[in-house]
Structures are given as structure tokens and as C-alpha cells.
């Protein structure tokens, strides 16, 4: 982990309110797993006070840059969206544990399931899997046509299915609807998205092998404040927990309570 003023190399809207930002800096060299995240101070001024966690989407160690994709929604992400090329951002990272690509064997069938701004960390993950010779299928869901992003980049990795909740693009419904409709089979599943989506997946595929990536409101991002804890499923006395920031954000299938 390091704290660095990263340089904004690019920052553009790629779907409605969805921005893709390219950041350059040494920190890129420290990334060990796809699915790790950054904790970003969104303004050169002291406020907003808290950093914003954003997943690393794409890593390019050779050219020393990475990409994040975020929805400009609240105060902090709106400030991010106004950052101009050449400005710097105070970033700490890489943080947390990503998807365990090293556990996957060549030839395995891996399904990537992403919802909304949960899609980004799956991109680097898919890439790493493909390089290993894994057979990757991607199913990504969005609210509507206007917010769909990264369909094409994922095509380079394998088959891609898109759903929208309002049916304005791809299959109408949720990621799980696509999976049923297309009867997608897989040896392992890596998922990231809103909690209802993750819950639906764990319920439909209780025996699956795989991982989910979780979101939680954070203070420190590095494991000291205990803001981001979640319960574990195997926890008779209710005292066991995981920290999303430092134990996660990626957890084994059904390890934690959603």
C-alpha cells in the first residue's frame, strides 16, 4: 500500500453518469490481484473529508496506469467527474484482497456476474483468467440502456450477455434471469454488484464455487476503524466478523452474511 498523488491521464463519461478515469503512478506496480481497490480523496481541498473506495478496473503495469470506472452520484464522485486531465488525486492503494485467479485451473469455465458499478473489478479479473486459458463467460446487468458500459471490452475476453432491468437493451431482467434463460453452466463464479444481486446468486446457486465482492461504507479503508465489518455465516455466538476493506472486498461464496 502507498499514498500517492496520481496523475489524471483521462476522465470521460462512457455512459450516463458513468465515468472512466485513467490514473498514472507508481502505485500501479503494487497491484497483486484483480479486484483490489483504491481509496481516493476526491478533492484537492480538505473536504469532502472521507476518501471514496473505487475498484481497480484495468491495470497496465508497463505503461504504469490503471483505470477506474465510477458513477458520479454523490458529492465526492461528482467532484471526481470534474477532475481535468493533468490534475492529481491523492490516492491510497492498492487495498484489500481481490479475486483468487491463482486458484483457477486452465480450461475451467468461469462465469463473471456483474451489476452496475460492480462490473469494473471483473474486467481485470476476466483478463487474468483469459491469459491463464480459462473459459470466461460474462453476464452484466444494468438499469437501462443508457447506463450500459464495457460490453465490447468484455467481448475480447469471452462470451458476453447483457441485461437491463427495464428491458431497454439486451435481455430484460437481472443477471440471474439471463443465466437461467441461457442455461449458463460454470465451474466457478465471480460476482460483484448490488447486494440484492449477490443474494439472488447465492440463493440460486447455493453449492457454487466462487467469490463475491462486497461494498460497505468505509472510514479508513485499511482495517483500523471497524466501520466496514460484516457477519460470517458460520458464527454460533455472533462475534465473528470480516472487514470488507482488509479481509475483502472479495470473499468466498457464502462465507459472509449479505
Amino acid at each position: 500500500m502507498r499514498k500517492e498523488d496520481m496523475i489524471v491521464l483521462e476522465n470521460k463519461e462512457i455512459a450516463r453518469d458513468i465515468f472512466e478515469m485513467k490514473l498514472g503512478g507508481l502505485l500501479v506496480q503494487d497491484i497483486t490481484e484483480p479486484g483490489q481497490f483504491l481509496h481516493i480523496h476526491t478533492s484537492p481541498q480538505p473536504f469532502p473529508l472521507l476518501r471514496r473506495p473505487l475498484s481497480i478496473c484495468k491495470t497496465n503495469k508497463a505503461e504504469e496506469y490503471l483505470t477506474v470506472i465510477y458513477r458520479a452520484e454523490g458529492e465526492g464522485t461528482r467532484l471526481l467527474s470534474a477532475c481535468s486531465k493533468g490534475s492529481t488525486l491523492d490516492v491510497i492503494g492498492p487495498l484489500g484482497h481481490g479475486f483468487p485467479v491463482s486458484d483457477v485451473s486452465p480450461g475451467e469455465k468461469v462465469l463473471l456476474a456483474g451489476g452496475g458499478v460492480g462490473v469494473p473489478p471483473l474486467y481485470d479479473t476476466g483478463h487474468a483468467l483469459k491469459e491463464k486459458g480459462v473459459d470466461v463467460t460474462t453476464v452484466i446487468g444494468f438499469s437501462d440502456k443508457g447506463t450500459v458500459f464495457y460490453e465490447d471490452p468484455f467481448r475480447d475476453i469471452g462470451r458476453v450477455f447483457v441485461s437491463t432491468a427495464d428491458g431497454s437493451y439486451g435481455t430484460a431482467g437481472f443477471v440471474t434471469d439471463v443465466m437461467e434463460k441461457e442455461k449458463l453452466a460454470f465451474d466457478r463464479i465471480f460476482a460483484c454488484g448490488p447486494v440484492p444481486m449477490l443474494k439472488a446468486l447465492e440463493t440460486k446457486y447455493p453449492e457454487a464455487e466462487g467469490c463475491i465482492s462486497l461494498e460497505e461504507r468505509m472510514g479508513c479503508g485499511i482495517g483500523v476503524c471497524l466501520a466496514c465489518v460484516c457477519h460470517t455465516r458460520q458464527d454460533p455466538d455472533g462475534s465473528d466478523y470480516r472487514k470488507v476493506c482488509s479481509d475483502g472486498p472479495v470473499f468466498p461464496w457464502k462465507e459472509v452474511v449479505l
Partner: protein, 306 residues
């Protein structure tokens, strides 16, 4: 002599800066980022007799120049703190201030006796001011006679100096300060967080699962400075000041107001490296301004620790 070394009961600090309780865990994570020997002291996360999971999430919310937290004193409990957390701090020399919390006087006594008995803890900080747990000692923090009784009982069982952490959620903080001073406290730490609430703009309900939470960060600094200024004039006890410190100038403000040392909480989240940065920055600033010691900043009549 060092410009920034300070001596407080039980705490021989090479600089006046410590991370505040709850903002540094038990030091493990930060220890992998920098050498904990750079710190003046470390205030540990609150320890209770039994393990506590704390409140449900969301536990934090951002506010204008501040944040709310409602962690709810999550900690592994007295036994694990002794058997697992303290041993990891063996190799560093930095004095430790163990923050203790409880529901009953007996809770406090047991935790105080056992933690002070470990030999690794240099002083205790009685958390009688956590706004985030209903049974969490809040009455001890608002009632001067209860606060005094608790202080006396803990003093009786503790083998190290005892600091009392004061709540700002009171009509007159000097009442409590004077009561615990008479009861034998060795020092005061202030302020804990102010009770606050944020409404979630989507659900239109309180955002924190616990509804209310404790406000910290730059927003509360004027309140903290005022309270330290008041307490300084009403007691002789050493004061560890905190509440919104995030730069060297903030530390100077607290020292002028009457603090003998300071703690940094929320700012650790903005910048995990802030404590060592502040101690280097403070040293440099004092050198530039040609002060021989930090305390030369304080008005003469104010400083009461020898």
C-alpha cells in the same frame, strides 16, 4: 533536550502526538505502514470485559467537515486483548494508553485490573463518554458523582495512572472534570465525539443502523478547543486534547488552549501516515520559530504540569 518531548503521568512521550482511541485499532495494521516507535504514545481501541461485535452497518457517515461513527465498541474482549493484541506490541517502545469501557463499575474494575496488570500498558483511559452504546457508560460520563465513584474504584485497582475521557455532550464539562480530579484521576482526555445524526437521502431514514452516531473531525474542533480552554482553567490535571486535529497549526491551537499532549483520530482515515508527519512537522515548525519547547507556546498562567 527535545523540543517536542513531553512527560505525562505514565506516558513518557518523545512527541506530544498519539493516535486517538478507536482510530488505530490495536496498532497492527498501522504497524505495517510505518514504525510505531515514531509515535508519542498509542491510545488503543476500547476494551470491554466480553467480546463485542458492536452495531450493525452502516456504521459511518460523512458530514460537512466531519464524520459520524457508531462502531459500538467492537473489540475482541479483555482476554483476547491480553493474549493476542498486546503481545504484538511487545517489540515497540511507545507507551500505550489502554482505553477501557463497560456497563457496570465492576466491568471497568476488572478490565482495569487485568490490563494494568499486564505490565505492557502504561496508563488507562476510562471511556465514560461513548455516545454509541446505550449501556456503554454514558451515564458515567454525564453524572459527576458517578464519574467520581468510578474513577476512585478504578484507581484502587489499577497499577498504572488513570486518565478519564470526557464527553462533550454535557451542560458543563468542568463539573465532571473537577469531580474526577477530586476522585484521584491522573489526567483527562477530551473530547470524545458529539452525538449526531444523518438522514439518508435515499431511504429518508437515519443513515446509521444505530440511528445516532458520534461526530468527529474538523467540524468539532471549535467545541473541543473551547472545552479544553475551560477545563484547563478549572483543574490542575494534565490534558490530552483531541477533536478535529489534522495539521500542525491545529496542534498549536490545542496547546495554546491548554492541552499538554494531543490525540489524532479521524485524520488517520484521511491520511494513514498523519501521526509521524505531524510530529516531524511540529518539530520543524518549532525550530523555525525558535521555540525551545512546545510548552513555550502556552500562556504562563495556563500550564500546570511540571
Amino acid at each position: 533536550m527535545s523540543r517536542i518531548a513531553v512527560e505525562l503521568p505514565g506516558l513518557s512521550m518523545k512527541n506530544p502526538i498519539m493516535p486517538a482511541s478507536g482510530c488505530f485499532g490495536f496498532g497492527e495494521e498501522m504497524g505495517s505502514l510505518y514504525d510505531l516507535n515514531e509515535l508519542g504514545a498509542i491510545a488503543l481501541k476500547a476494551t470491554t470485559r466480553e467480546p463485542r461485535f458492536g452495531n450493525e452497518t452502516p456504521r459511518v457517515a460523512e458530514t460537512a467537515a466531519g464524520m459520524l461513527n457508531a462502531i459500538g465498541l467492537q473489540n475482541p474482549g479483555l482476554q483476547k486483548v491480553i493474549s493476542e493484541k498486546l503481545p504484538k506490541l511487545k517489540s515497540i517502545e511507545t507507551p500505550l494508553l489502554a482505553n477501557i469501557a463497560g456497563t457496570t463499575m465492576e466491568d471497568y474494575e476488572e478490565v482495569a485490573a487485568d490490563l494494568s496488570g499486564t505490565g505492557r500498558v502504561n496508563a488507562l483511559e476510562l471511556n465514560i463518554s461513548c455516545p454509541n452504546v446505550k449501556e456503554g457508560g454514558i451515564a458515567f460520563g454525564t453524572d459527576p458523582s458517578l464519574a467520581a465513584e468510578l474513577t476512585e474504584r478504578v484507581k484502587a485497582v489499577s497499577s498504572v495512572p488513570v486518565y478519564v475521557k470526557l464527553s462533550p455532550n454535557v451542560t458543563d464539562i468542568t463539573d465532571i472534570a473537577k469531580a474526577v480530579e477530586r476522585a484521584g484521576a491522573d489526567g483527562l482526555t477530551l473530547i470524545n465525539t458529539l452525538s449526531g445524526m444523518k438522514i439518508d437521502r435515499k431511504s429518508r431514514k437515519p443513515l446509521l443502523a444505530n440511528q445516532a452516531g458520534g461526530l468527529s473531525g474538523p467540524a468539532v474542533k471549535p467545541i473541543a478547543v473551547r472545552m479544553i480552554h475551560e477545563v484547563r482553567r478549572q483543574t490542575q490535571l494534565p490534558l490530552i486534547g483531541m477533536g478535529g486535529i489534522s495539521d500542525v497549526e491545529d496542534i498549536i491551537d490545542f496547546i495554546i488552549a491548554g492541552a499538554d499532549a494531543v490525540a489524532v483520530g479521524t485524520a488517520n482515515f484521511t491520511n494513514p501516515f498523519i501521526c509521524p508527519e505531524l510530529s516531524r512537522g511540529l518539530e520543524k515548525w518549532l525550530a523555525q520559530e525558535q521555540y525551545t519547547h512546545l510548552y513555550d507556546l502556552q500562556p504562563k498562567e495556563v500550564h500546570s504540569v511540571e
